[in-house]
Symmetry: C2
Subunit: 225 residues, 2 copies
């Protein structure tokens, strides 16, 4: 049942990177805020070295920017880059959906129904964090079921940025329930073995996600670059 709380994996550096990643995506560290190696090290009770490695990892996913000898800051949200990211994600995930409709692992299929039910529950509770976690699990399961788990690797970084923005756009339960319905629509096309419909459903799904972005940019201009 605790598939949602990822365990404190392996090294301290990995653990801290995961923690910081969550904190950044959930806006606990808002865009533009500074991240001091020393402060974080003190917070987590470790040395600067693992913190440094964690920040390097986050910099690689473009969630933070390390300015040499100056400091590390959480990158601001860029609508333009977000749209570019959507383009790439759309290219990958529509291809995955198409392949899923051609052949899908039956074992993964039943798991997805469970995921969607759980996602619907947390959506009704208006629980952002759990919702996004199940959203991620859905897309992972879809890629794995289609036999291209590696595709997720390429998408995960982009999705992290999107999820951060969605913490501003996903304000009510209705919107989240809509997204769950879109997930079900994708699976319906997959079950019908209709590649074109699956790709189209995924296309609409990804289009919907960032629809409200320009509005929140006007509301929170300080979070954007």
């Amino acid at each position: 049942m605790d598939a949602i709380t990822s365990p404190p994996s392996g090294s301290a550096a990995q653990r801290i990177e995961a923690e910081l990643r969550r904190a950044i995506i959930s806006m606990a560290h808002p865009p533009g805020s500074r991240l001091s190696e020393q402060d974080i090290a003190a917070t987590y009770g470790v040395s600067r070295q693992p913190v440094r490695e964690a920040l390097i990892g986050l910099a690689r996913t473009r969630l933070v920017e390390i300015l040499p000898q100056r400091g590390t800051v959480v990158v601001k949200i860029s609508t333009r880059k977000m749209m570019e990211g959507r383009f790439v994600r759309e290219a990958i995930e529509t291809a995955v959906a198409r392949r899923a409709a051609e052949s899908f692992d039956p074992a993964a299929r039943v798991r997805i129904d469970d995921l969607l039910d759980l996602q619907q529950k947390v959506a009704q509770r208006n629980d952002h964090t759990a919702f996004q976690r199940y959203d991620e699990l859905f897309h992972i399961a879809l890629a794995e079921g289609a036999g291209c788990a590696m595709a997720w690797q390429a998408v995960s970084d982009i999705k992290a940025h999107m999820d951060r923005a969605c913490h501003l756009t996903l304000t009510n339960a209705e919107t989240m329930l809509e997204l769950v319905e879109q997930h079900r629509a994708i699976m319906a096309a997959v079950d019908a073995c209709n590649p074109a419909a699956a790709a189209e459903a995924m296309h609409c799904h990804l289009r919907e996600i960032l629809r409200a972005l320009p509005k929140v940019e006007a509301e929170h201009p300080d979070l954007f670059e």
Copy 2:
């Protein structure tokens, strides 16, 4: 003219990571070989710390695998993973080619012709390394010209793995010249503003690259997993 030799950028860690990356892709460190932090540190005349950060970076791109408290090894080539990677890369790059045919930055357009001429030259000289570098520059320029530079970010890691395999498959000048011709075919479709043709040309191009992979796996089974 020295656009091919990337400068020793910023920190020692980044410099060493770039060096190791080149060495791995060019098979100077063959798949399966061990990479000791200490040895590399001594080789490059630096401490173990920047080497460690470099190895962590390479592990993130799946070029090496860090086994905690045991050692770091160059990952072996996996035909299955390579095919999965091609699937993802195909999804992204055909979308890029399609968009390029819809609208392309004129300034980037002229640069590409220069790149292709240079690539043809080094192909005639049978210079693997330079060829792959210009190949990379071509795909980057195409993405930038199409206005989705971020797409390259998602492709670069996959291409690194492919390039490593291609060091085994690209043995003669003829094959390289064929690939240049495929590049020109893509650009012809772009110039003709024919998205479908551009995507199809890219599709064929990426299909060709790994065609000889099963053969080299039979010849060098020790390099594969």
